[in-house]
């Protein structure tokens, strides 16, 4: 891999190719807002190969209209990485990632209201010896908090361009672009003395890194400093292993310090903060002691022992109400459009297999999944809103104690909650969980939360379960709550189990910043929502399309003689035969081969079970009226004349649907998020296995008890 040559500072050495800026900063400092403001819609969102960390690259233009590349690196508090996201930031900055060229210049963004802690990362970045532009964001909020920042002094002390900015209002962007357009940028002349106890080790490591690991001297010094603070520095994916000699030097120093009682990492951190402290005293002027801020007043209610729960409950209720009410109209619209498109194709094309493939396979299959897009969009919108305002961190704070009982932390709460609507946004929201094992556990259990696609199945089963044409509301509600509770307890139970066995790990920490509340920035929320929706649609266009065609093929072939009904065609198709083949396995659960077809077809989306039952029992099922289908199902019999849909079978089937993994979209997303097929395959087996066992127990126990 050819690294770009180190950009020197003379005007003659201005980069000939498109300059590459890396944008770095702490979480919650307005980095995404600045990135969006700089690059607008000229963004490319992908993944860093080998890790599921979002890679965002955008283009902005210099004052002369030259394109400038900006890489938005994941937010971090320190280069001593703790999560895969933070490791990406560190590795890109150090030029360790073969897939991303080392940036020529670094754009550091800091929060003006919280300068000291934000400068810690800047201080580490100055060690890299790259030209840096410092953007001091949220100047307006700092002024409101009674802080006066003498940025000219900061610029003087650090010796690099410092730009005052309010990214939300677009203020300071022109100045920033002017600075970014400069062909020459000074290197910081900020002098920082490594503490005397550690300096010899840094020098020795630097020498070894330069000669043995072929790093440039400045990078070698930064790497040496990092090796002394970053506990994971030696075993990180995506970076080249260090020369054994360097590791040997590191270990011998650590041994020596341990014997002497020197706290090397702590000393390094403390000396950085000391240098920052001097800067801060020179730069920050506080006028008077500020009383409680608006944020403090909001938090007094939102994290209150009693009100806190009410607010959380209120927010969640609002979220679910809007998902189920607002999404209904667009969902029906998509259904209608898919149906209209099918009809149009039916008129436009001659009768035949190709026509069936397009209408039933492609439009029906993909349409059935895309139908969930409105729900997913609303959910992303809410998640974005909660993140943007700062409430997300409070929800995690409140729920942490409960989540810690099963070995997770509060950050797993929102992903699991979102999964009640749909597991896909839930699984994608796990990216905020730092510890990879905790993230994986959350992904593995998220689909156990009863999603909205299970609702039609539950409703049909409840209708079949209760005698009479109208189900009493109380019965319906009690059974529903039972199913949701079953899924929820299942999810927590399995999380507990996985954290103790397969993915054993230390209980996760809960070191999390509670950022001040801010008004949401709708543009950022919308961009985030569109990005995520696009990922979902791309999946629908590839994996889901493929599986839909396979499922269609299974139900359309082999062809029955002309003139038979759909019911007979399905019965003798591959799916029907598979249903027959499946019968011995599912008979102990009370299911026959016809239900088996339903189980297979609902792999497209669980609710497809309802329409499949409509075909199997030759009864048209409408969303709002299941009476004919219910009658047909109640008339269904085993060959020996027993009723097929006894109340016990209905229960068994519902329990099966609570636990079984029957959603190709989820599998596709889990594959993407875990970078391989192992975990989605494992997940499918453990969930479906649990479903089988529990349905078996319920059905057999019920029969033994005489139901």
């Amino acid at each position: 891999m050819a690294l770009p040559p180190h950009v020197s500072t003379g005007p003659s050495a201005a980069p000939a190719r498109q300059p590459v800026y890396a944008l770095v900063g702490n979480p919650n400092c307005g980095k995404s807002t600045l990135f969006n403001a700089l690059t607008g819609l000229k963004q490319k969102v992908g993944n860093y190969p080998g890790v599921t960390v979002e890679k965002k690259i955008g283009t902005t233009y210099s004052q002369h209209g030259q394109p400038i590349t900006v890489i938005d690196l994941p937010g971090t508090y320190s280069l001593a990485a703790r999560s895969p996201d933070e490791a990406v930031t560190r590795d890109v900055l150090l030029g360790r990632r073969a897939d991303t060229a080392q940036p020529d210049r670094i754009l550091c963004i800091v929060d003006a209201t919280n300068l000291e802690r934000n400068l810690y990362l800047v201080h580490q970045i100055l060690d890299l010896g790259r030209p840096v532009i410092l953007v001091v964001n949220m100047m307006d909020l700092a002024a409101q908090a009674g802080l006066t920042l003498r940025l000219a002094r900061l610029e003087h002390e650090l010796g690099l361009p410092v730009i005052a900015c309010e990214a939300v209002h677009g203020r300071g962007l022109i100045e920033l672009k002017l600075a970014m357009s400069r062909p020459d940028l000074p290197l910081s002349r900020h002098a920082w003395d490594v503490p005397a106890a550690i300096a010899p080790a840094v020098a020795e490591l630097q020498a070894s890194l330069t000669s043995n690991d072929r790093k440039s001297p400045l990078i070698a010094r930064a790497e040496a400093l990092l090796l002394l603070t970053d506990q994971d520095a030696l075993r990180v994916a995506g970076s080249t292993p260090l020369c054994p000699r360097t590791v040997e030097i590191l270990e011998s120093w650590k041994k020596r310090w341990a014997a002497e009682g020197t706290d090397w990492a702590g000393t390094l951190v403390a000396s950085r903060y000391e240098a920052i402290g001097h800067l801060a005293t020179a730069v920050i002027q506080t006028s008077g002691t500020a009383g409680p801020t608006t944020s403090d007043r909001i938090d007094a209610v939102v994290t209150h022992q009693l009100w806190g729960w009410l607010v959380l409950g209120g927010v969640m209720t609002l979220l679910f109400l809007s998902i189920f009410t607002l999404a209904e109209t667009p969902m029906n619209w998509i259904d209608d459009q898919a149906a209209a498109l099918s009809t149009w194709v039916k008129h436009a094309m001659a009768d035949g297999d190709l026509r069936d493939l397009i209408t039933a396979g492609v439009i029906g299959g993909v349409g059935g999944v895309v139908k969930f897009l409105p729900q997913i969009l609303i959910l992303y919108f809410f998640i974005g809103l909660l993140e943007n305002t700062g409430y997300m961190a409070r929800a995690a704070f409140i729920m942490d104690r409960l989540m810690s009982r099963v070995g997770l932390n509060g950050k797993s709460f929102i992903p699991l909650l979102s999964s009640y609507a749909c597991a896909i946004p839930g699984i994608m929201a796990t990216r905020t969980i730092e510890e990879p094992k905790d993230r994986l556990v959350t992904i593995l259990v998220a689909p156990l939360m009863s999603c909205s696609a299970r609702l039609p199945v539950y409703l049909l089963m409840i209708a079949a379960l209760v005698p009479g044409d109208r189900v009493p509301l109380a019965t319906k509600v009690v059974i529903m709550i039972l199913m949701y509770a079953l899924g929820t307890f299942g999810a927590f139970g399995f999380a507990w189990l996985f954290k103790r066995t397969l993915l054993r790990g230390a209980p996760p920490l809960m070191i999390m910043e509670l950022p001040p509340y801010r008004l949401p920035r709708l543009r950022d929320v919308a961009l985030h929502m569109i990005e995520r929706a696009w990922i979902f649609l791309r999946r629908a266009g590839t994996v889901i399309l493929g599986i839909s065609i396979v499922l269609w093929f299974l139900s359309a072939y082999p062809k029955a003689p002309a003139g038979v009904t759909d019911q007979q065609q399905l019965a003798q198709s591959f799916a029907g035969r598979a249903g027959h083949a499946l019968e011995p396995i599912i008979k102990p659960l009370g299911f026959d081969w016809q239900i088996g077809i339903g189980l297979i077809s609902s792999f497209a989306a669980r609710e497809v079970f309802v329409s499949t039952m409509g075909v199997v029992f030759n009864a048209e099922a409408k969303d709002d009226d299941t009476t004919p289908l219910r009658q047909a199902m109640l008339n269904a019999k085993w060959p020996d004349g027993r009723s097929l849909f006894t109340p016990l079978t209905c229960f068994s089937l519902m329990i099966y649907y609570v636990f079984a993994m029957q959603c190709m979209s989820t599998i596709a997303v889990v594959k993407r998020e875990t970078n391989g097929w192992e975990w989605p395959v494992f997940q499918t087996f453990y969930m479906t296995g649990t479903a089988w066992i529990l349905s078996f127990i319920v059905f057999q126990a019920g029969r033994a008890l005489g139901f």
Partner: protein
């Protein structure tokens, strides 16, 4: 005579203290230090979560959460 120290987890809610002793090892403590919790830094215990854990502290002008299990290893000297 050195002032008496107590653990951060036993600091009364709403009071401010100065950090005196900090554990040397452990990833959690390194990160906490990088977040600015150093010996000599003033810290305010803002509140405990509704279920008693984790804790919310204010340090260097911003709010941070940590669990009691970490807080009990951090020794602080309450302001007089």
């Amino acid at each position: 005579m050195p002032a008496p120290t107590i653990s951060l987890s036993t600091l009364p809610i709403g009071t401010t203290a100065t950090i005196r002793e900090f554990p040397k090892i452990g990833a959690a403590f390194l990160r906490l230090r990088e977040m600015g919790l150093l010996a000599g830094t003033p810290v305010t215990l803002v509140r405990a979560a509704p279920l008693g854990d984790p804790l919310e502290i204010k340090i260097r002008g911003y709010h941070l959460t940590l669990r009691k299990s970490e807080a009990e290893h951090i020794l602080v000297e309450p302001a007089a």
